[in-house]
């Protein structure tokens, strides 16, 4: 069982930072709503607020890590230009997708959309974390501000979801390959 270095980076970017961020989004939305609505009868313990602050900060780190590894580690491998005369495009995912009418859409729509929309996730969640850390439970007394925070948190979730979906599909049709091989385990002959 082996893995290339580039495949490992893609896993870290998508399954590590991206998927973990998406999982965290639903929890953040529920907790933000629960802790900041005035209808909730009991005051949340300071430890609950502290937990959500740390949780949101972890989401900020995950979101920035996902877009930065995507843009500066994986994207250069994705958009690499093959030398003239190259017929095997397996190492050049963008060109591989563009070489067939059945897959070109995954680049012209999927990647073109993903590479930009993904950045709304860290921008939005950074704002959400800042506002919650600053206001905490006092957000229940600022209904408009709370609405903005929930709306941007939802937008962050949608942006990350679109980027994640496009990324997964692109990697299915034209995976980023190459780099040195990492041997995970040796299979036994049957």
């Amino acid at each position: 069982m082996e893995l290339t270095a580039r495949a490992l980076w893609t896993l870290v970017h998508g399954m590590g930072f991206g998927a973990l961020y998406l999982l965290a989004c639903s929890g953040a939305l529920v907790e933000l709503y629960r802790l900041t609505t005035s209808s909730s009868s009991s005051e949340p313990a300071p430890s609950q607020q502290r937990f959500l602050k740390v949780y949101l900060l972890a989401m900020v780190v995950l979101a920035w890590a996902a877009v930065l590894t995507g843009a500066y580690v994986i994207y250069p491998w994705y958009r690499a230009v093959p030398p003239p005369g190259t017929t095997d495009l397996a190492m050049f995912p963008q060109r591989l997708l563009m070489s067939s009418p059945t897959t070109i859409g995954w680049h012209s729509l999927g990647m073109e959309w993903k590479e930009h929309i993904a950045w709304f996730a860290p921008i939005s969640i950074t704002m959400v974390a800042f506002v919650f850390i600053k206001y905490g439970r006092d957000l229940k007394n600022h209904p408009q501000l709370r609405a903005a925070v929930l709306c941007f948190a939802a937008a962050s979730f949608v942006s990350a979801g679109i980027a994640g979906f496009c990324g997964a599909m692109i990697n299915k049709y034209a995976p980023v390959q190459g780099g040195h091989t990492i041997q995970l385990s040796r299979g036994e002959e049957k």
Binding site: Y72, I123, S124, M127
Partner: protein, 115 residues
Amino acid sequence: MKMPNGDSLPNAPALTNGSGSAAVLAAGIGSFALAVLACAGDKSAAVKNLLIFYKPTGPLSGVTATAILIWFFTWGILEWRWRNRMVAIKRINVVAFALLGLSLLLTFPPIVDLF
């Protein structure tokens, strides 16, 4: 908010909404800046070349770095101006949501292709 005798009013905000509003509006402006720069880079070869800050990543490096600078700069200015003030947050929310909505639309390739 405090009453003259120092007690807090029940359900009265302890903080002004200025700081939060500054963060909300700046996030909308930053997102919109990113979408406009991405669109401009797609439509003009000259802009595209200007936005190549890091060659392996191409114009995406300039689009995102410039948008982030615009976002932080706007946030800093607004925070400085509004941090201790109550501002018209309803109007600010409308503008921020409109900018965010436009940003989402402007990054969708079939809409960019209309220009």
